[in-house]
């Protein structure tokens, strides 16, 4: 039985994330999904998912407040090569720093900063909320079976900030909202989505299934 831990640090809709992961794990078999705030459980995990909603600084403070969690994440994801999926602010935390209201250091896994989206059309609402298509900029196993482009499937976004990567190599997919907005980032064994796969119906469930199958 392989173990997938969804990290509970007081930020994120864990119920819906857990339900979506359980749905896809049931189809694959032999995978247990566990929501936990215990770093020792995360240490044992075969895959790790980091959710997050709200403000960058609050989420980082929440993660830091769980004693030993950041250390275990560094140990398992950076040194252990465990497949990692960050979602929404959980993805943004992978950046070098957040620039939402105050400058806050991130985990520093994906060089870049989290900045406010600035649509070229001032009539466009902020937050960017709702369903949008994605454009895959670099092929990745987590995109298997997911049609992109204007006629592709849609992902559910709700955010006012996005991760601007320093390198084009770590930008995996974008979406368009009065300009290019980061949709997915990643390198090696880590992947992050600005949108919510657990709320993105067909696209999201497929991406979660791909994550559960992924052997980076």
């Amino acid at each position: 039985m392989s173990l997938v831990t969804i990290i509970d640090y007081g930020a994120g809709n864990l119920h819906s994330a857990a339900k979506a992961f359980e749905r896809m794990a049931d189809g694959l078999g032999g995978i247990g999904i566990e929501v936990t705030s215990d770093p020792e459980r995360v240490r044992l995990a075969d895959r790790i998912m980091l959710p997050g909603v709200g403000a960058f600084a609050d989420c980082k403070a929440g993660l830091d407040a769980v004693a030993g969690m950041v250390e275990v994440l560094e140990e398992r994801v950076i040194r252990g090569g465990v497949p990692f999926l960050g979602v929404c602010v959980g993805m943004q935390l992978m950046a070098s720093e957040g620039r939402e209201k105050v400058v806050t250091p991130g985990l520093g896994w994906i060089p870049g900063a989290v900045e406010k989206i600035a649509p070229s059309d001032p009539a466009l609402k902020i937050p960017h909320m709702g369903w949008n298509t994605i454009s895959i900029t670099r092929p990745h196993p987590l995109f298997a079976g997911i049609p992109d482009g204007p006629d592709g499937l849609h992902a559910y976004f709700v955010h006012s900030y996005h991760l601007v990567t320093e390198s084009a190599d770590t930008l995996l997919a974008t979406t368009d909202y009065g300009g290019q907005v980061t949709a997915c980032v990643g390198r090696d064994n880590m992947f992050g989505t600005q949108f919510h796969p657990e709320k993105s119906q067909a696209l999201g469930l497929r991406l979660i299934e791909n994550f559960l199958r992924w052997t980076p």
């Binding site: 937050p127 955010h159 993105s200």
Partner: protein, 265 residues
């Protein structure tokens, strides 16, 4: 830009069953909310909204079970409104599986509650329900006031607050979205109050969901094009089978509104 206009079926729930009020008074029972949610999910709904219409004055524990069972089956955003009065209410709904909560009376009675809720859970999950009615006396309150007044308790209680001013204040306090309902139009099938929707949408940066009064598919298009809404919400026309969600989406698409057709056509 390729962000799509959201089509949101709304399920009014009382005692764990779906009802739809005509002007919030004449209620008809129209089914099990979870069954309806699953059907709407399969038909291409972009989000779901549950309004617990008993909540302001009766027990409401049934809604937690409805939300939890829905979250087992529906992998799209779910908003729950009705009787949300405390940080603890919000926490329980989010834990049950809701993504957003819609707050009405508590926002009117204690605007600081919206600030606290947004700080605690993030703006993205705080929807303020702007329930507005046309003023009977347009002159009341002076020239700077809009034509609409805020009501609470399902449209039964006037607040004296100006609707547009209230909407702007709620966004300043952290509302991530506004659900704008014309209490004059709700249940009448005569179309959204487009002037109201537009006045509020143009006054705030956040998305506005138009609600109250949809009777035809053209009403949905008008809500977006004339009302400047980012999303349109309807209950009766879907609920009683007047139109299906795919019909509505196809109509919107054919009339120049970008909608998500995943799994629909």
């Amino acid at each position: 830009m390729s962000l799509k206009t959201r089509l949101i079926p709304c399920l009014d729930v009382m005692g764990g069953r779906v009802v739809k009020g005509v002007q919030f008074v004449d209620l008809r029972d129209a089914g099990d909310p979870v069954e309806a949610a699953i059907a709407y999910d399969a038909a291409g709904a972009d989000e779901l909204t549950f309004l617990d219409i008993t909540a302001s004055h009766e027990g409401r524990d049934t809604i937690f079970d409805v939300v939890a069972r829905t979250a087992e089956h529906c992998f799209m955003p779910v908003t729950v409104g009705g009787g949300v009065r405390s940080i603890e209410d919000i926490r329980k709904l989010l834990l049950a599986g809701a993504d957003k909560v819609a707050i009405n009376s508590a926002a009117v009675n204690d605007p600081d509650f919206i600030s606290r809720a947004a700080d605690k859970f993030g703006n993205q999950c705080i929807v303020v329900s702007v329930d507005a009615k046309q003023r009977l006396d347009q002159r009341v309150g002076g020239d700077n006031r809009s034509e609409w007044e805020i009501f609470t308790h399902g449209g039964r209680k006037a607040s004296g607050l100006d609707a547009v001013e209230f909407a702007v204040a709620m966004v300043e306090r952290g509302a991530g979205e506004l659900l704008v309902t014309s209490m004059d139009r709700d249940g009448t099938k005569s179309g959204f109050d487009l002037k109201l929707t537009r006045a509020i949408s143009d006054a705030v940066e956040v998305p506005v969901i138009a609600s109250g009064g949809v009777g035809s598919l053209q009403d949905l298009v008008d809500g977006v094009k004339e009302g400047h809404a980012s999303a349109v919400l309807a209950a009766s026309i879907f609920h009683f089978g007047t139109f299906t969600l795919p019909q509505a989406k196809a109509y919107m698409r054919d009339h120049g509104v970008a909608v998500r057709m995943d799994g629909v056509a």
